[in-house]
Subunit: 204 residues, 2 copies
DNA sequence: TGTTGTGAATGACTTCACAGCG
DNA sequence: CGCTGTGAAGTCATTCACAACA
């Protein structure tokens, strides 16, 4: 497990993995850094360099066996297993996330849902029953969850993040439209489509 | 309108804007690069350097008037206006996007929805009626839309992107879990929560 | 005094270019 | 011969550090 790999490299690995899985579905068995790069808009050298942080996965003169490289990437990213995920905030967005089909095929399963609104506690959402926030820490410990999704309004997201960090959560996917600060050792990724839209309009 | 601003800088401007609007709501009137940086996890120098690409927005010894800086950022990002957006793909995700409340407050309104599935054409989704794909180009021209959201399955996303580019769309927010290639002059931003999850698990 | 705006210095990332190997 | 893996070179981004100024 090499240290000092730039985070920007880590961010590209899932993109590579997604492309490899797509090629596999299309019946391909072998690819090259050049072919991958053209598909993804990266240079061939960058792909080779990124992979070189972790080992040697190709054959000179041939390229990469797609299934093998994909499996190696899954190991590197720790997605060669199932991850339980807890969800905080069961409004419209939280409901959509429980129903969202994109997580399970990648090994992420929302196993508990929490909300601070007493009128929501006890309601069923898909196969889950919404629980009170005061059960959060004990449930996280019971499940052994390390990953949480925040889908609350912006106003409560920081408070929720504090609670999650205290309960031992180390990875947060934040859908609340606000930046949050977390203790060292906790990582946050942000999902805010409006932000991406604003990044697009700059160029219009 | 300065040229040659790194895209990575453009990507941070919406984050700054979001934080400024949050501070405004909290009753603040003035902030500093240091205060903003602490809130966002950036260095104060980086924020000042980013802003310096576009002008001088602060007062030495004082900081930035929040409402003024926010308005300047809106101008820079071209979000000081309303943007019509077309949606392609009206499955579960497309439905959720039409209902999603995060776009309209930022000036983005989904004004048309399209699907290639004949059984969906004519159905109502919120206030919209799903239209056939063969109306796409004429509707984009009629509306003057420059922005599109792709919410189709991965298998059709590239084809849809080609059609959108041909119809004059210059900015695409792609929810399909696949990388797409587009002609020069067209920009794409990706929304794939599973990718972000995989980026998080690397560190677990 | 406190904070900005900015060249200069440092650090990080990407590309180059080629040895090495299948 | 073709493609990988990788040091070296080049480019780009961030941080430093301070003059300028309210």
């Amino acid at each position: 497990m090499p240290a000092n790999v730039p985070d920007i490299v880590i961010g590209r690995l899932p993109v590579y993995l997604r492309a490899l899985e797509h090629l596999l579905k299309g019946g391909h068995e072998i690819t090259s850094s050049q072919e991958l790069g053209e598909q993804l808009g990266y240079s061939a050298a960058q792909i080779r360099k990124d992979l070189s942080f972790f080992g040697e996965f190709g054959k000179q003169g041939t390229g990469y066996r797609i299934s093998h490289l994909a499996q190696e990437l899954r190991k590197i990213l720790h997605v060669d297993r199932e991850w339980p995920v807890v969800l905080v905030g069961v409004g419209a967005l939280g409901h959509a996330l429980v129903r969202y089909g994109g997580f399970k095929p990648k090994g992420f399963t929302i196993v508990s849902a929490f909300d601070s609104d007493a009128s929501k506690v006890g309601q069923r959402v898909g196969a889950l029953v919404v629980q009170d926030m005061d059960k959060l820490a004990s449930e996280i410990a019971r499940i052994g969850a390390q990953i949480a999704i925040i889908a609350t309004p912006a106003a409560t997201a920081q408070e929720v993040a504090n609670t999650l960090a205290k309960a031992g959560i180390q990875a947060i996917l934040n859908y609340a439209p606000i930046s949050i600060t977390v203790p060292k050792g906790v990582r946050v990724q942000y999902v805010d489509p409006a932000l991406l839209m604003q990044r697009l309009t700059y160029y219009l």
